[in-house]
């Protein structure tokens, strides 16, 4: 039995195909989220990658900010539940998940059985999200991933004290204009995202193992800064950005009985 999960985010669309709730047989990631043709392309790509036709997926679930606009799925689930399920699929003992996506950040507490027991999300502000990094990377004329990699080479960390994306943008420009080292500024930017997210994680309660998911998880600079801010080792998977879609596929598989009833 093949279950299909799609995560329509604010900036990207991700899909996962899962066989018998255990084996990932296809994945896709397309830049372009809600309101674009990204979801459609991501669906097309995942079935091509798995070498099966869409008819072979017997059950499906959609998640992400675009979940309510996608009518083809059997189930619609919040990204909170999906990230928790996706994280637990990859890391079976997982107790805390930190997800940093394009426009929000969340900290999710799981109980011993893997059930989501509580969560916290960022307030109505772009600080501490992928959008913050996008803005900063644009100023520094590097990609978001380069920003993270270069931050790791910094000899010292600049202090980005503003919590507002727009104010932080001005602060970064001022520091660069004053001749601050670019890698130090990059490290300061990663620290800014990490400290903002760490407060959420601390409030929800850190219980190890802890993992990071979402697009920002791919940023090595933020991962390192977050580990330092929390004082724990962060588990990371190359599939971290797919946890939402993976969780949706897991959810669809578990609920497949409900669909057939």
């Amino acid at each position: 039995m093949v279950s299909f999960g799609i995560d329509i985010g604010s900036t990207t669309s991700k899909c996962i195909l899962l066989r018998d709730g255990q084996e990932i047989i296809g994945s896709s990631l397309v830049v372009g989220g809600i309101g674009t043709d990204g979801p459609r392309k991501a669906v097309q790509q995942v079935f091509e990658a798995a070498g099966i036709s869409p008819d072979e997926a017997s059950v499906s679930a959609v998640t992400g900010y675009g979940r309510s606009s996608w009518k083809d799925a059997d189930f619609q689930v919040s990204e909170l539940t999906c990230h928790a399920m996706g994280g637990r699929f990859i890391f079976p003992e997982l107790r805390t998940l930190i997800d940093i996506g394009g426009q929000d950040a969340k900290a999710i507490a799981l109980d011993k059985s893997g059930m989501m027991k509580n969560f916290l999300m960022n307030d109505k502000c772009a600080a501490g999200t992928g959008r913050f990094l996008d803005v900063m990377a644009t100023i520094l004329q590097v990609s978001v991933n380069e920003l993270g990699t270069l931050a790791l080479t910094a000899q010292e960390h600049a202090s980005i004290s503003s919590t507002c994306t727009v104010f932080a943008e001005s602060e970064v420009i001022s520091q660069l204009a004053s001749g601050a080292d670019r890698t130090a500024v990059m490290a300061g930017i990663c620290d800014s995202v990490a400290t903002r997210t760490a407060t959420l994680a601390k409030r929800v309660g850190i219980v190890e193992p802890v993992c990071i998911s979402g697009g920002v998880a791919r940023n090595a600079g933020v991962r390192a800064a977050l580990e330092k801010a929390l004082g724990v080792k962060l588990l990371y998977s190359e599939l971290s950005q797919h946890f939402g879609a993976l969780g949706a596929a897991v959810y669809a598989y578990r609920k497949s009985g409900a669909k057939s009833e």
């Binding site: 900010y65 689930v77 919040s78 990204e79 539940t81 027991k117 969560f119 409030r203």
Partner: protein, 414 residues
Amino acid sequence: MAEEVVVKKTRPPLDPNSAKFKLGQIAAKAYSDAMEAKARGEKVGWISSNFPVEIPETLGIHVCYPENQAAGIAARGGGARLCEVAEADGYSNDICAYARISLAYAKIKDAPEQNMPQPDFVLCCNNICNCMIKWYENLAKDLNIPFIMLDIPFNPDNEVSDEQVAYVKGQFLAAIKQLEEITGKKWSDERFKEVMENSCRTSRAWLDATAQAKYTPSPFNGFDLLNHMAVMVTARGKVEAAEAMETLAREYKENHANGKSTFRGEEKHRIMFEGIACWPWLRVTATGLRDRGINMVTTIYADAFGFIYDDFDSMIRAYCRVPNSINLETSRDKRIKLCKDNNVEGLLVHVNRSCKLWSGFMNEMSRQIGEACDIPVTSFDGDQADPRNFSEAQYDTRVQGLTEIMETRKEAKA
């Protein structure tokens, strides 16, 4: 091509004997009575929500509530327009949106969403928040009218001391004297006794009505309380209010006996809603819950308007114990009791940008409530009257997450 026929649904008229009709009439009459009094040349005032209503009611003075007006304006779509008027005059958009709307209204003197007469004096009490002081001071200064202020300080202790009662009582008596001088009306102890009895009777009926949420399913939709509380704020000293609230309690009991509820659909989950309603997005916030079968069965308002007392001094004690003037532990315990009494399964917290006082301590308080009641807690950003501080998508995700936790817990128990 056939002509399209649009059939507009019309609601059946309300039964004039129903609580909803009676309560609506009382709330509307408060405004029309004040308008008529002003037209007759009587002095009318603006009053903050936790100023003792017994004082103007006993004196026979008509007053209007800027907080209720601002909520009404916001619920009918005028919040941003009036906030922008105040902001153009230099008021920060970080201050209370009720204050901004009220200050704007005092300037432009017209809001089709909810008009009320301009004041001849203002009555302010800071037991609900301290922003109130500067808001009312500015109203008084802008309009060049008397400012009557009752200072009821935040109480860090668990009980109200005799010293605090004495401090507040002196101010109550001074306020009565000032009002007698301004309006020419006289205080009557006999009339106060009647008002006190009405207020206690109304409060008892309110507590009785809200307590019916102890039943599962609840015989009412908790959003009803947000509408009905307008009468608790403005008119609880009137005999009509007591009768209407008693009707409400009776209806809820009948609903329970007959297996009915004002909550439409199946009640799958029961939550407590914490904070002032997000009036500009009331429909969205209510629908987001109702569509998932979530009934908001209780709020702190259920407890907050239980003003039960039997003389002048105990009335003062009651006003020294309103929700925003008491310590975190007492506030928490009141909410824990409401959650337990009403079988609450989750807590939804409105982080209200307008109300720093209320929202500021909610991170910690809601954590403690969640632990004590073993329920999941989530919060959303919003505002009581400024529509610009809310994101529907963010609200929806948080409510869905809360729902999924409650569902999973039920499945695990089953």
